[in-house]
Amino acid sequence: MKQRILIVNSGGDCPGMNAVIRAIVKRANQESNWEIIGSINGFDGILNEPLEIVALDEKKVEGIHFQGGTILTTNNKRDPFNYPLKQADGSIIYKDLTDKLIYNLKVFNFDAIIHIGGNESHKISLKLAQKGVNIVGIPKTINNDLSVTDYTFGFQTAAQVATEAIDKLVTTANSHNRVLILEVMGKNAGWIALNSAIGGGADVCLIPEIPFDMNSVLKKLRSRYSKDGRGFANIVVAEGASFKDENGKLTSGNIARKIAAKLKEVNFKADIRETILGHLQRGGTPLAFDRILATELGVKAFELVSEKKFGTMAIHKNFELTDINLEDVINKYNKVDLSHNLIRTAKGVGISFGD
């Protein structure tokens, strides 16, 4: 009988997930004794009755590598250790369904799970590994906020989308002498904001790692509107950025709007508009960079399974694919280090962080 691998993806989607799925399937097809099955909507597929699983063969995955999203659909609210169950009265209770999960894996002859997900997903991977599930992880975070791997797929595409947004905002800001504020993803890590600010050429970049001072932002804006300045300004702000108010309290959330309001409050003379990029950063065709990285990780994850190296994650380190134990992945967040060369570069071209 063929050996069976179940692919589960969880967490928010990002461009490249389909390229991972395709690579796993294509790699498995180089051997004669493997079958790849996908679980629909995270762990739902393997927990639902009847099961919602789909056999993945070469035909199913043909051409999907340049589609964004995931053909399996995904969900970030389906922790099998704390699984939401809707009751007859509409209320929701949470239950640990991992025993059922393990039972289903056994009954339906699954030999291993490849779990594609972010930081939170791999906490689940680790706990499942500790309960004896044969599991291999693949990192997925659009925010590039995982330190054990040099790059995560999806991130470059998001940085590209955000950069192209700045390209567009620069020409309209210039034409109307406006201050345009672009809010991009990044709750805890400012990588997308930092990269797109440099790539697109913004004047101010505000990231969660550097709580900003409104006066410092104002100073930069005033210099842009001075006699020698260019008479317009572009601000990129990560959704998780925060500033200190008059009482020294940190303010965050709806940050682009709050900055615009604050600038109006102090009577900053220019016309101010905001753009919130939102899920455009997760959609669409992945860049070549992300497709390649995703394909590499898919191939590597299959090989980890075939070598029975379970409880690990496939990663990209120093141009080589390798693996790391899941224990060593958890809580290794990759925030923007203030000594990082990108900060130095940004300051070097005159970008203000509002610090």
Binding site: S196, E296, V299, N341, G348
Partner: protein, 365 residues
């Protein structure tokens, strides 16, 4: 009086050159005492009479980071050590004008030279540095074939363009049941070909590092075609060669250009496949200079900006004789000699090659 940095671009252009120039100028503007000028067409702007030097300030470089090419122009020929001179009989000879140029630069009040170019340019920089000139190098190769730096700018843009070409060729090949051959850049290194083949999903990829056997390609094509139905995409680097042959090249007829002109492999491959009995409908596309033109992707703009800022900082620190390089996640300066000592070709044991084989791609061997 302000100190002066002279910037120039040499060798073939690639997307991101302008972002480097902008990075240098914007970094200099953060100081009180430096200004930046640019030499037109590499060192030619200095060597010509009258000189062709332009001032570079924030206004000049505003918004240029998303333009491809180089606002300074470039050349792949000549240089201070081999300046072409036309003799009376119509032939060309080459003279060494390096000492004269160094004197000229001193006279112009140049305190630092930042030369953006390929390995040829870096060699010239090293020779000038040995003669006492304050030079800093910025690497530029669309082929990603320099081992001192993890990536060079322009390369990811080229990969993206080649990948989008594969995307397009896949749908038309599938509709017409064709074999389509895409020829991409890569004289000695197959990075663009291999990367775009993986990202775009080609069935066959031929690179200079792995000589190919036409018989193996026929096998793949026959397997993919059933009753005349099927399609195959072949990505081939211009420097790829068969196991029993050599690369296709011709001597350039441009004065002072020592590089061989490559190209034509797609056409040759098509004929070779035909001769070997492949009866599928076949077409070829040569991507050519589309790979060097247009807007750089964010990755390359960011890398180029980092290089520009770092190069200016090396000048501020008087840390001359070095080329900036990306050694993830840092930008560092490496001595020229070290920087140009090793080519970065595709290692057949690398994870990229393993990935290609892992998804069933044929590399011709």
């Amino acid at each position: 009086m302000k100190k002066k940095a002279l910037v120039l671009t040499g060798g073939g252009d690639c997307p991101g050159l302008n972002a480097v120039i902008r990075g240098i100028v914007k970094r200099a503007e953060q100081t009180e005492d430096w200004e930046v000028v640019g030499s037109i067409q590499s060192f030619d702007g200095v060597l010509r009479e009258p000189t062709e030097i332009i001032e570079l300030d924030e206004k000049t470089v505003a918004g240029i980071h998303y333009q491809g090419g180089t606002i300074l122009g470039t050349t792949t020929k000549g240089g201070p050590f081999a300046w072409p001179v036309k003799e009376n009989d119509g032939t060309w000879s080459f003279i060494d004008r390096s000492d004269e140029m160094i004197r000229k630069l001193k006279h112009m009040g140049i305190d630092a030279v930042i030369s953006i170019g390929g390995d040829g340019s870096q060699r010239i920089s090293q020779a000038l540095f040995e003669k006492g000139l304050n030079v800093i190098g910025v690497p530029k190769t669309i082929d990603n074939d320099l081992s001192a730096t993890d990536y060079t700018f322009g390369y990811q843009t080229a990969v993206q363009i080649a990948t989008e070409a594969v995307d397009r060729l896949v749908t038309t090949a599938a509709s017409h049941n064709r074999v389509i051959i895409l020829e991409v850049m890569g004289r000695d290194a197959g990075w663009i070909a291999l990367s775009s083949a993986i990202a775009g999903g080609a069935e066959i990829c031929l690179i200079p590092e792995i000589p190919y056997d036409v018989k193996n390609l026929i096998k793949v094509i026959n397997k993919r075609f059933k009753n005349g139905k099927g399609h195959v995409i072949i990505v081939v680097a211009e420097g790829a060669k068969p196991i029993d042959g050599d690369v296709l090249s011709q001597q350039s007829d441009e004065v002072g250009n020592e590089n061989l002109k490559l190209g034509g492999i797609a056409h040759k491959l098509l004929n070779d496949l035909k001769a070997a009995g492949c009866d599928a409908d076949m077409r070829e596309t040569v991507l050519g200079h589309l790979q060097r033109g247009g807007v750089p992707i964010a990755f390359d703009r960011i890398l180029a900006t980092q290089f520009g800022v770092k190069a200016m900082e090396l000048a501020l620190e008087k840390d001359f004789g070095k080329m900036v390089a990306y050694q993830h996640p840092d930008i560092v300066g490496v001595p020229f000699l070290e920087a140009i000592s090793q080519y970065n070709v595709v290692n057949p044991d690398s994870s990229l090659v393993k990935t290609a084989r892992g998804i069933g791609m044929c590399l011709g061997d």
